[in-house]
Amino acid sequence: MSAVLEIEGLRKTYRSRKRGVRHALDGFDMRVEAGQVHGFLGPNGSGKTTTLRTLLGLIRPNGGRMAILGQELPQALPAVAGQVGAIVESPQFFPHFSARDTLGLLAQAGELPRQRVDEVLELVGLRDRAGERVKTYSLGMKQRLAVASALLKNPKLLILDEPANGLDPGGIREMRTLMRDLAAAGMTVVLSSHILGEIQLICDSVTIISLGRRVAFGPVDEVLAAHSQGAVRVRLEAVTDLPQAAETLTRAGIRVAAEPDHLMLAGVDKPATVSRVLAEQGLYVSELTPVAVDLESVFLELTATAPVPGQHRQVDQSTKVGEPGSGATTGGWGA
């Protein structure tokens, strides 16, 4: 398989006099193979949109290399732009034009036949409303229009930043089907999202980003397998003992996520250690079950954004790869 999209060591630093320096991308890597639906996951502010903007030439990176369809960016951007359809972060449109006019102008600028406009309007379900001004559209309808504008070129690579934003459940399901169909027809789709159920359902592979660095990547089942080992659910006889148990286990070097009536542990080699450690403190286990994880828990674990009772997690509080004390491996990226 050939890579449709490659990113290596991408860096983007925002500087402002007031807030100082922010490394939005800090040596980020990503690779997407042809014909895949690729999920691009990360907490808010982790750098997903920044990555996609950089890739599309909207912002200028401070370092690293990028390639789309084997061509180096940003130099080859004019050459590949016709094969990349993209929407970036709730795209906006000129509010006084109709959807048909909006797409018509894009199609004309891209030298596409006019009937293509009607095709994509049909595809995203806006056919009957295409003559109305975009101003009168709901969020979900604007999102559909955005997807239509990305599909207009019939691209080889489709990049969608949070496409499920504002869609109704039916819309999400249609979008899912649409993407599967497009991938089946040979299109490569990159899908950024924080809605993990979606990603798990439709993606072949994922890249997980946290604070501007990649924390995990690969086919969905491999990522799940790699991180499901050692996931254990623990219940105690007395629910009130849970905080103490969490503290004890954390001290023993086990990652703990507290739930209302149980604890989720990660990175446990032998479940027996758990019961021994707890018993030493006079805490008795009523249930100790290894669990098969879903993408959501892997995500929460990897990015360290699982909710902790009594704390309000702030947006940049998540895993920083390559820093001492962090759970993830120190890779060749960044530093």
């Binding site: 599309l56 004019p78 016709g82 795209p91 449109f93 000129f94 600028a109 030298e111 504008s149």
Partner: protein, 338 residues
């Protein structure tokens, strides 16, 4: 090329463009129509009647004057002492009415003289079309930035300078087209007013050539205004930025600098005010005088004079417009588009 055609289409689809074009048409039509009513063509009879009338007025004034002098002399003969106060020195003999003070023109209704007055109407036209160019130019690119349309377009056409340049070209072509077409109608309208309700006397080929050059300068100014508005709105990524900059520039130049040069009594202070250059652009030159060099106590005096020529205006406006345009393209090349 496809982008250029697209941009022309986008510009003409915009409501602002259409609305302002209608307003511009209405405004110009109103001025021309109203003006055609205020001008009256002078027939030979009217002119002759006016001549007779002014001759009569002259004679009446002459009689009055003679009578006053006679009254004064009579009073003097009676020995009145206050004749100086009542009739002036020498019984007002020095104030004999002169024939040339009774110009028949004053007895005629206003008649539009195409040759003498049309150049002023070129400036009026240029002002109106420049306003159109400013608002259309600023809002066209300003709205593209603020609604995300520019970003969408760059996903299709990643060559930023080409995109901005094409948009500018589309704007300037549209403004040029509007100026030329409306300018032709404007000229025709006033020529017709001159022909049927005024005079087109002495409109020689040379006059037409001069009008043509005035028109060219007017169109040049309109295009420059459009380009500057476009560049300002693109720099600030918002229509309001261009409007704000224009208001600020106007306030600084026409109010701030005027007050400053008056307070500091800078000689020829008006040469630092933009409107002086606008004026000389249309009038070919503006003469500024410095009356402070005069000591009127010593009698009549030629004040020091400074001439601002239209070439100097071209330099001022050209450099200003070029600076803003270069800034806009420079920032387009470098900036992050978020």
């Amino acid at each position: 090329m496809s982008l250029y055609v697209t941009e022309l289409r986008r510009l003409s689809k915009r409501r602002v463009t259409r609305l302002l074009l209608v307003l511009l048409l209405l405004g110009l039509a109103t001025v021309a129509t109203a003006f055609s009513f205020s001008s009256h063509q002078l027939s030979k009879e009217t002119v002759a009647a006016a001549q007779v009338e002014s001759e009569a007025q002259y004679q009446r004034a002459l009689e009055d004057w003679k009578k006053t002098v006679a009254d004064c002399d009579a009073a003097k003969a009676r020995g009145d002492q206050d004749t100086e106060e009542r009739y002036g020195p020498n019984c007002g003999r020095d104030w004999q009415p002169q024939r040339e003070m009774f110009d028949p023109k004053w007895n005629l209704p206003y008649q539009f003289d195409f040759r003498a007055e049309f150049p002023m109407f070129i400036a009026v036209f240029a002002g109106a079309v420049a306003l159109f160019a400013f608002i259309v130019g600023a809002s066209y690119v300003g709205a593209e930035w603020s609604t995300g349309g520019m970003m969408n377009l760059l996903l299709w056409r990643p060559k930023r300078l080409a995109v901005l340049g094409t948009k500018l070209a589309a704007l300037l072509t549209t403004v040029l087209g509007v100026s030329v077409v409306l300018g032709a109608f404007w000229t025709l309208a006033f020529w017709l007013i001159g022909r049927y309700r005024g005079t087109t006397a002495k409109v020689t080929a040379g006059v037409w050539q001069s009008i043509g050059l005035d028109g060219l300068r007017a169109v040049g100014l309109v295009l420059a205004v459009g380009a500057v508005a476009f560049a300002l709105a693109s720099l600030g990524r918002h229509t309001a930025m261009a409007l704000g900059a224009a208001v600020a520039l106007f306030a600084i130049s026409e109010i701030g600098i005027r007050i400053a040069v008056a307070v500091l009594s800078v000689p020829f202070g008006e040469r630092y005010v933009l409107s002086t250059y606008a004026q000389s652009w249309f009038m070919k030159q503006v003469e500024l005088f410095d009356y402070d060099t005069c000591q009127f106590a010593k009698g009549a005096c030629e004040p020091a004079k400074l001439v601002v020529t239209w070439q100097q205006s071209a330099l001022v406006f050209g450099v200003g417009a070029a600076a803003v345009l270069i800034g806009a393209f420079w920032s387009m090349r470098r900036r992050d588009i978020a």
